[in-house]
Subunit: 285 residues, 2 copies
């Protein structure tokens, strides 16, 4: 074993990986980046000491950010990803033939470059897709451009936790700009933490989104290396109620027709994801 | 911090707790036992280096072992727990007023005694319930007694992983004896690991149970400190199909009538628990 890598997200609780090799390690202009290999999880990306993804389980996260809103809307044309420089979410969105463009907006160009180079099993060549447009700029500014207004059917905030360079992506101004960039039927999905360990992050995000959007709610995925059990994916829209936009039969038909390969998402998993454990229901403001 | 406790379940991957105090530590006749306090998870029980429960999240496990079969059967009379010396599952079962008896059969009397003494927030006084009968004997033998034959509407295998003293609780003879002890409508539920890290344990259990029982399947819960995302709870019965024994409306009515307090289980969570991610469907033999 080359090194022991401990995640530093919580005080007095950590997950620890035995790295069998260090692939990349540098201080970018924005954060500390580490990519290492491990026997159990394959290649792992770490930013500022926090696990961003592992080859073993990233599908549980990226599929559930992308496919529920796309199938609920019966297809989308233009999508934007806030963060997501590793390409995992872009790959899932672009599996859908009807998608015309994806703007991937990650402030840290080095995350994009090093992911492109070292995480081929994660992005699966998506950076060669002509429909993908990569922008190494601040999403906060990108959303304010006039071209962004009302453009997107889907905006996914694949952002890290609300610390460091990502802190600005959790404020009311950010959510307001993001709302302006959504089409009327468009849906935004936000990673909002693991409610059992981060109840306040979850409640705060729901309160803020509820103030700004007529429709909002939460569904769940489970990504083992985002320790803490279910992760809350909170959605918001001006017009679409994601929780009941399509029936089970409609989802099954769209899924069968689309022939998009998945390892986590199924129409049954889609519907089940909206059932929140009682303790999470109680955290909803 | 008094000590750092690392779980030793996997090679090259661990969860690590900062213990703020050691409550009990001894070598019992069967295993190494440790109970410690932690800031984030409260009190934690460890057997042979593997986390058994934490005060913070044990409800996600014990509720989902107990309530789905009980509500699906619209009540039960006699239950047995294989293992479960900490009292967590017994407490959930005995929340139901109609239950007449629970046999808790844990081979390690010290686990029972020390849990009784040091884990009051877990068992919540259930050891004083006259309907609970505690047997510090081998469940493998207990199930073979003539009185056990056809007695139980519910048997929960709250067993550890298939190593050490629990290994015998994963063999065909054990499952056969357990089948004999079930009533015709009775349901058995087995902890069968986290499929993403323990795919073989999951597939093996399903193959063996499918050979012995006419009805079998899997539902899921998510217990953060059983690292690995969803945990598979595999069920088996001679006559009852747990996956569709009751409609959503029936479950909701029974839950409302029973007034059993829960923090994880809801009728919607019950139904959603049967939706397996695509990668787990593929592990079903």
């Amino acid at each position: 074993m080359t090194r022991t890598v401990s995640e530093t997200l919580y005080e007095g609780y950590a997950q620890q990986f035995g790295a069998t090799g260090i692939v990349a390690e540098e201080k970018t202009a924005f954060q500390d980046l580490l990519i290492f290999d491990s026997a159990m999880h394959g290649r792992v990306l770490v930013l500022d000491g926090i696990i961003q993804l592992t080859e073993l389980d990233e599908f549980t996260y990226s599929e559930m950010l992308a496919h529920p809103p796309i199938y609920a809307l019966d297809g989308i044309e233009h999508a934007m990803i806030v963060g997501g420089g590793d390409g995992a979410v872009a790959e899932e969105i672009l599996k859908h033939a009807g998608v015309k463009s994806v703007d991937l907006v990650d402030i840290d160009g080095r995350v994009i470059e090093l992911s492109k180079q070292h995480l081929p099993k994660v992005h699966n060549g998506v950076f060669d897709d002509p429909r993908l447009h990569v922008h190494a700029v601040d999403a906060f500014d990108f959303l304010a451009a006039p071209e962004a207004k009302g453009r997107y059917d889907l905006i996914i905030a694949d952002r890290p936790d609300p610390v460091g360079p990502a802190e600005v992506l959790f404020g009311e101004t950010f959510y307001g700009r993001l709302k302006d960039a959504l089409s009327d039927r468009g849906i935004a999905v936000f990673q909002t933490g693991v409610p059992i360990y981060q109840p306040q992050e979850f409640t705060d995000a729901l309160a803020l989104l509820g103030k700004l959007f007529p429709k909002t709610g939460t569904y769940l995925t489970v990504t083992p290396t985002y320790i803490g059990g279910q992760m809350a994916l909170t959605w918001a829209s001006k017009q679409t109620d994601l929780s009941n936009a399509a029936t089970g039969a409609e989802l099954a038909e769209r899924f069968a027709k689309g022939k998009v390969p998945t390892r986590y998402y199924t129409p049954a998993v889609h519907q089940a994801a909206f059932a929140l454990p009682a303790f999470m229901e109680e955290l909803i403001p």
